[in-house]
């Protein structure tokens, strides 16, 4: 880890301060709760899929956590709106690979767009779970998992 700015970029700080789509979605078709029991971070992700074509019509989140987990959740919702379920799952996999250093968004093809600003997380192994909590919760929502998803199981 050289420079803290690689992690705490302006976009991330800004989304932490003013998270987008930060509210309950009453008419959600999919919902899941994600927790990191080691630090107490907790987010709910709400989805409404289009009944005809299955695209993500609406996506929102609520909860509390550190700047990395909250900004990650906020930017996830912004980037997933209008995407198909398959695209969302693909992005989840790519995001996970990026933050664990298995995908270099600068040299390899990907579908993450602006989410590549989270690539600095790979230099902070203890913060990977913060960045990926919202994405694990998204996957649980798409899978319609009943139990709260945990970073520790």
């Amino acid at each position: 880890m050289a420079d803290q700015n690689e992690l705490y970029q302006q976009v991330i700080l800004e989304h932490n301060k003013k998270p987008r789509n930060f509210s309950v979605l009453e008419e959600a078709s999919h919902y899941a709760l994600g927790k990191n029991p080691l630090c107490g971070d907790q987010f709910a992700v709400y989805l409404k899929l289009n009944e005809d074509n299955g695209t993500i019509e609406e996506i929102r989140f609520q909860g509390s956590g550190c700047a990395i987990s909250k900004a990650s959740a906020s930017l996830m919702t912004v980037n997933l709106k209008g995407k198909s379920e398959e695209e969302a799952r693909l992005m989840k996999d790519e995001f996970q690979k990026m933050v664990t250093g298995q995908l270099d968004p600068d040299t390899e093809p990907h579908h993450l767009g602006r989410l590549s600003i989270f690539q600095g997380v790979k230099q902070y192994p203890v913060r990977v779970k913060c960045a990926s909590l919202a994405w694990h919760t998204l996957e649980a929502a798409l899978n319609k998992e009943q139990e709260a998803v945990s970073t520790e199981s």
């Binding site: 880890m1 956590g65 700047a67």
Partner: protein
């Protein structure tokens, strides 16, 4: 602040102390390491590291089994540490010193070995609102198993236990009180002598979780008159994997074994086993021999530095750090007890402790961020987590200055 320094001038030469701890010399991310996570675990002086290395290189053998010279010598060295521990906490006899893996195992041993025979349905166990999970969960499990009731001493907004409420919780149904000496997340020093006396008036035994106290102040189990006292070697500058349970002899005799197997028996047939006397009854299996030797070296080190030097110096660090931290805008200290050890938990309303921890780490400053295994404390004070800086006598005022500078940087980043 200058007058304060003068008032607390001590004989402790911190630069000489630091030279004893090789790990403190390193740089982290290009900055000198400021290790401020001493409530989690303490670093090891060279004398401990060298003693353990020497033991492995020249003296290692099993204990209490071999008839050969090496084993006999290892056994003597091992038993000497038991004597040393007894002297260190002023236990009447080394036979009241049980070696365990750490404070967690010590409490589990009492909850099981004492709790199972003596706590029945409808009985009550008293703990406090500021316990570590290690002094909550074993009792909770026992109560669930037995149909007993767990009673919790409440804490005020400053982090001090409500002693009147404690008095009211002590009843004819109370079978044991188990409280910490010092809270690991708030730094509160509890009035354990008075609490022990109050319980004893009703004939109730008391366990003191000393995980956070023995590294800061001298312990005299006879003066306290506690029934049980538990601590971990790794928090008092010794190795991990070894700890101590002191228990009064009558309790050890009445307790049932927690684990069974080799070394804790008198005789075994397929029909019946008779157990060895305490402490061996509670030490099944080959023990952590080199770790016991290392603990002995750690206690020697503390004796050489001297609590009379450690206490005023650490108190000075606490006062200096408290005043400096309170100058930082938006910082709130959680835990403002009048009697505190050199442990400071703090929060910013809109900056998460994990972000604080990561940003401080970029400057080589090691602090703890999280719930510190005290989730009920976090809930009580309405915070998800805190950042905690905890100081040892090897820490310096300069390290506290670096912490304060680092926290100002954190508030800049999140402005």
């Amino acid at each position: 602040m200058v007058t304060l320094m003068e008032k607390t001038a001590t004989h402790l030469d911190v630069e000489r102390i630091r030279a004893d701890f090789p790990i403190l010399k390193q740089k982290i991310h290009g900055h000198p390491l400021a290790y401020l996570d001493n409530a989690a675990t303490t670093q090891k002086p060279l004398s401990v590291i060298e003693r353990m290395t020497d033991f492995y290189m020249n003296e290692y053998a099993t204990v209490r089994r071999g008839v050969y010279e090496m084993s006999a010598r290892a056994t003597i060295a091992y038993d000497e540490v038991r004597e040393k521990v007894a002297r260190f906490i002023n236990a009447p006899s080394s036979s009241e010193i049980v070696f365990v893996r750490g404070t967690t195992e010590a409490i589990n041993l009492v909850a099981s070995g004492y709790g199972r025979p003596f706590v029945q349905a409808g009985d009550e166990v008293v703990i406090s609102a500021i316990e570590h999970h290690a002094n909550i969960v074993p009792w909770q499990q026992l109560c669930q198993e037995k149909g007993a009731v767990l009673k919790v001493i409440p804490v005020n907004d400053d982090g001090e236990l409500d002693i009147e409420a404690y008095q009211a919780l002590l009843t004819d149904k109370t079978r044991i009180v188990s409280v910490n000496h010092i809270s690991n997340s708030l730094g509160t020093i509890n009035p354990i002598k008075a609490m022990i006396d109050m319980a004893h008036q009703r004939g109730i035994p008391v366990l003191i979780d000393g995980a956070q106290s023995i590294q800061h102040m001298p312990i005299d189990v006879q003066a306290l008159d506690c029934d049980f006292f538990a601590f971990s070697s790794h928090k008092i500058y010794g190795p991990t994997g070894i700890g101590v349970l002191y228990a009064k002899r009558q309790h050890l005799n009445a307790m049932v074994p927690y684990q069974t197997g080799g070394d804790m028996i008198e005789s075994v047939t397929f029909e019946k086993t008779t157990f060895a006397k305490a402490p061996n009854k509670f030490e099944a299996g080959t023990p952590a021999i080199a770790e016991v030797i290392g603990l002995g070296a750690a206690l020697d080190y503390i004796n050489a530095v001297g609590y009379e030097n450690i206490q005023p110096y650490e108190h000075h660090l606490l006062t200096y750090a408290t005043q400096a931290l309170l100058q930082i805008e938006g910082l709130r200290i959680i835990g403002n007890a009048r009697e505190k050890a050199s442990v400071i938990s703090f929060v910013f309303d809109d900056i998460h402790p994990h972000d604080v921890g990561t940003l401080l780490d970029s400057r080589g400053i090691a602090v703890r961020a999280g719930h510190h295994c005290t989730q009920p404390v976090m809930e009580r004070f309405h915070v998800p987590a805190t950042t905690r800086a905890s100081f040892s006598f090897y820490n310096t005022q300069q390290e506290i200055d670096a912490l304060v500078d680092g926290l100002r940087m954190v508030t800049q980043v999140f402005r």
